[in-house]
Symmetry: C2
Amino acid sequence: MKKKLIVDVCLSPYLYPVYHKEDSIVVVIDILRATSAMCTAFHHGADKIIPVATIEEATEYKKQGFLVGAERNGIALEGFDFGNSPFSYTTEKIKGQTIVISTTNGTLAIEASRNAYKVVIGAFTNITALCNWLKLQNRNVLLLCSGWKNRINLEDTLFAGAIASLLLNDTELFKSGDGALAAGFLYSSARENPYKYLRNSSHTERLAALGLKKDIKYCFALDQTTVIPVLEGKYLVKLSH
Amino acid sequence: MKKKLIVDVCLSPYLYPVYHKEDSIVVVIDILRATSAMCTAFHHGADKIIPVATIEEATEYKKQGFLVGAERNGIALEGFDFGNSPFSYTTEKIKGQTIVISTTNGTLAIEASRNAYKVVIGAFTNITALCNWLKLQNRNVLLLCSGWKNRINLEDTLFAGAIASLLLNDTELFKSGDGALAAGFLYSSARENPYKYLRNSSHTERLAALGLKKDIKYCFALDQTTVIPVLEGKYLVKLSH
């Protein structure tokens, strides 16, 4: 019998060292809103994205003339070109450009997993394209949730559960780690009404308080794009698939 | 309005530093089987338990004449008095004794949280007594899952969700962190048939393969005792409540 590939979920960047395997594909997840925005930026024609962890790095790139998005705690920082709202990444601004994105949590997850076999970016906005691609890779898959300041959050866990469930439907190909089981069960029970589940999540409350319900709705909409961003050195680029 | 207390869930000892608050009560959870066995040991009259992290420490205590339980990967180690099976902690062996327990994961969680305001031991076997006590403490509660080699596991997450749900029923007293929300949702969807959920968990599979189904059943049985073990220095003792 062919050895099955493992799908697992790592619920915080802080936990990544415990789950690291050199030969796994890591899917970085920051639904509200970094990875959703990254998919959108590529969909609207961005050439490359440089994810950075600190405001200092973002400022440095801004001085060098790059278009730079920077936010902390859900709020776009002054003096930069974008925050994290997918709606700010429009074609006229970014087509053909290399842009820099610094975010509270998503960038930390990318940095944590940088040494994996491959790091790709996942969001509800590219879920089908991403799953189809993952099924063809013959690799273990680790779904890495960005969480919130290294704590777990509900929306990333739910999305990880959605991907895990889609992959694990192929029972010949994949088997599940406990993290993927837990996230998958969560997703199964939430899928009929994810908003009910997410209404009480801390970051949904935070964004709603900031008047960003439109963003939340966009970030939970499926298949806005078929783009899969992939990490190449310091850049995210569009995967050819 | 009175400020609500926070109930949250930390899914791995490795994540504990992210959740640590000096003034919280930490409930250490290792359902299969360390914390279940600890509750049972006190119920059967143990005077004190010394939890130790390494086999070396366990061996040292054994040389000093203590009754010592030691297991790794679900298997009792030779040359010691018990493994982790709750059934091995019988009254005739342990009444009035100080016993030493070293376990794969539970002891690591106790060590990680040692500096919290108070560390108590939770299991399905003492769930009602524990919840009733927690509601009277006027403290934030952190439910700390021992997991499996720092990864999350399903049975500890499920139990954390059970406790979180019971506490959060008191909406005037408690509010929920995202970890508790996720674990609580998991528990809600699993409660009608937890065995279905747990059948595929890695440690359930591991114990079942070792012929330990009786242990699993015991560890999921509610309210076998009203004992709440609490950490005092290097000892676990029975909380007076």
